[in-house]
């Protein structure tokens, strides 16, 4: 397990404040994530979670889950922030035959789930862009 502790040009419109995991017409964020899914080698699914509960998943029909990483990561992140190294931004973890890269704008967690061939470096290079994209979503959830 490795954690990375440490802003952007991407603007995301988030259409609804309470989204159960369901099939819906493509939102800008799901289109953005689906594009990423196609471009990154080894990437199988992307899950957006609120306090561990998935609210958006691409591909929509996928049964690939993050094995509970998102819910545990919220707790890990609280502890990681106490290491005196700054605010925890991301987590990379290998579980069995999966690699999961998760970005933290607590309580919003964006998880990238992939095979052991996943290009982790490519996803981590987008850290600042992705965190900036999650900010408005986090603010939306904090308001509700």
């Amino acid at each position: 397990v490795s954690t990375q502790s440490t802003g952007s040009i991407l603007v995301i419109f988030f259409c609804s404040s309470s989204l159960p995991l369901l099939k819906m017409s493509p939102t800008p964020i799901s289109v953005f994530l689906e594009n990423l899914l196609r471009k990154v080698e080894g990437l199988e699914a992307i899950v957006l979670s609120d306090s561990g509960h998935p609210i958006l998943s691409v591909p929509a029909e996928s049964d690939i889950s993050d094995s509970g990483t998102a819910s545990t990561y919220c707790m890990v992140s609280e502890q990681a922030n106490k290491l005196g190294l700054g605010k925890n931004k991301s987590l990379v973890v290998q579980i069995d035959q999966q690699i999961i890269v998760a970005f933290n704008e607590s309580p919003i967690i964006l998880s990238f789930i992939g095979t052991l061939n996943l290009n982790v470096g490519l996803i981590l290079s987008m850290t600042d862009t992705l965190l900036a994209a999650l900010k408005p979503i986090q603010e939306q959830f904090n308001q509700n």
Partner: protein, 92 residues
């Protein structure tokens, strides 16, 4: 343990015309960088070499093409070998 690697890396970086060198692993994570090369490019370098392999010969995993990217000021040479991707940044 990595003295041999460090020595070889330094030799390449010291070559005339070489502005930077980057070594990344198959996960796109930086192993070593020097000069002009930035560790945040590791993911891109690995992605380029993986795609080039597919382009060169989709049936074989043993093909290791050399990718050359030329810009106005820099030429970047990228090749993967035994799971390690090396990128050499050269001046024009």
């Amino acid at each position: 343990m990595d003295e041999q690697f460090d020595r070889a890396f330094s030799q390449i970086a010291a070559q005339p015309g070489v502005k930077g060198v980057l070594c990344a692993d198959s996960l796109g994570l930086c192993i070593k960088e020097s000069g002009f090369a930035a560790s945040r490019s590791s993911g891109f370098v690995t992605a380029i070499s993986t795609l080039a392999q597919k382009l060169a010969d989709s049936d074989s995993i043993y093909v290791n093409p050399i990718v050359t990217i030329e810009t106005d000021k820099t030429t970047v040479l990228i090749q993967q070998h035994d799971g390690i991707v090396t990128a050499i940044y050269k001046s024009e």
